[in-house]
Amino acid sequence: MQVTRESALGQQTVGGLTVAPRSRSTPPPLVLLLPTVIVLFVLTIYPTVYSFTLSLNEWNMSNRLATWTFVGLGNYTNILADSRFWNAAQVTGTFIFGTVAVQLLLGMGIALLLQRQVIARGLLRTALLLPMMTTPVVVGLIWRFMYNPTQGILNYLLGQVGLPTPNWLGSLQTGFIAVMIADIWEWTPFMVLILLAALQTLPQEPFEAAAIDGASAWQAFLHITLPLLRPTIVVAVLIRAIDSFKTFDLVYVLTNGGPGTSTETLSFYTYKWGFKFFQMGYASALSFVMLIMVIIFANVLILVTARNRGAS
């Protein structure tokens, strides 16, 4: 009797896909998500709350006896009045704008160049990946080697063709530009790669139509290529901007924030307050200001990504 009941159940399983399997197959998403949620909670939410509490206090970590002193929003009002913070914000902003703009222009030029390249295109594309995948600290050291004012290859070459040979990393006029050049070298390949991939998927019809209408290559680029690439360009620029906002490694290796404070980015300035001056309250407040800025960037990126996915 039991046997027949079992077989009846079995038949039901095969017949009504929805009934029997669901009880077994509806997996609790929670079980799968839980480890990730716990780990990220412990590593991000809890520290964020901790850090925000700390930002309302004053605490010198280097003094073993020092305790937290509640100062309310004092750290935040101090930030607003801190000219070195505004300098760091300006350095970071100029750095983002300068590097990303040059990377986009150079990247577009090189991508267009490679798109028409017949010989060894794959090889060229692969070679261009190297700067981007090189450890950022190593990128900094490579450039520091080349920037060496007396023994570096850069000034040697400049001297050979009779150009001025500046003290690249040591002077106020060139320090910031030198860091930007290293970043541009490292990340222009990112733009090339992304734009080249997008260029290769563009439809041919509009270009054929434009050619029949007698449009010049420049007109075709301006009125067909650019509008079609716009979503790609927006995503690439945003991602580079978010990464550029965090610039630390290059500054640490190349200039240590100097000369003066001319290359002191927000990341580097916050690092100094936290791990050079050990003022953890003020450093936490600074990091919170950075966090808010990044969240704004990230929201824009998510909106754009969602729109791109919706369009395709």
Binding site: P21, L32, T44, S51, I110, Q151, M280
Partner: protein, 292 residues
Amino acid sequence: MSAATATPAPTYAGGRPGAGRRVLGGIVRNLLVLLVLVAFMFPIFMILMTSFKSRADALAVPPVWIFSPTVSNYTDVFKLYPFAAYLRNSVLVATLSTLLALIIGIPAAYALARFRFRGVNHVQFWILSVRMTPAIAAIIPLFILFRRFGLTNSIIGLVLIYLTTSLPFIVWMLTRFFEDIPRELEEASLVEGSTWFGAMTKIAIPLARPGIAATAIFTFIFSWNEFLFALILTSTEKSQTMPVAVTLFIRETGIEWGYMTAVAVIMMIPTAILTLLAQRHLVQGLTMGALK
């Protein structure tokens, strides 16, 4: 002779318009490509060349292009400095943090890709914002907490802290990869009596293997290259990784360029190989799946 010199002009002007310009354009384009290649490869070439130079040749002015190569820089960094330990730390940290992030992240990505539940978008947004968080903002509280729990200057501490970036990256990327796999195969196996766990491990994960491999490679490279967390959390060769170790060559008195370039080359080898392996998914990996 006169005929030969006379012919090109009319051809250019009338018969085949633009033929000459096209040839010229081709030459210019190839020269530009060469220029681009030199600009981006030359610094790497310099490092590679210098790593095989003797100390005297390394900083000679004018630079020496032809020299008798030596591997003494490579052998010296391991003899004079604890680079064997730094290398071991880097390999351990990058491998373990990648594996751990995969084990924790794959099921989460599968759940986000396959099941509609309330708050799924919030979870996704949260994961992405964690990824965007500046390292300096994360390290301040984590350093204080890690110090309290004795996790500073330890491999385990680094492995854990790298989860803050690698885990959201893996979950975000693999969600996209799982979404691209048709769910019919899993549904069929469920009908045949398999459990959801079986459907995930026996069908979905094997099908997503190329995506998982590429994502793992990116995660590995990220941990391999990471500097700020390691700089703050580690203090001796017990746990210092290669990026931190290589900056130890920067001293007030100058930099040992021969040693520095040798270490730089050692650090570039794994990333170069892995990048080649993951080339097909590079655009996806670099844009967090925003572009393919």
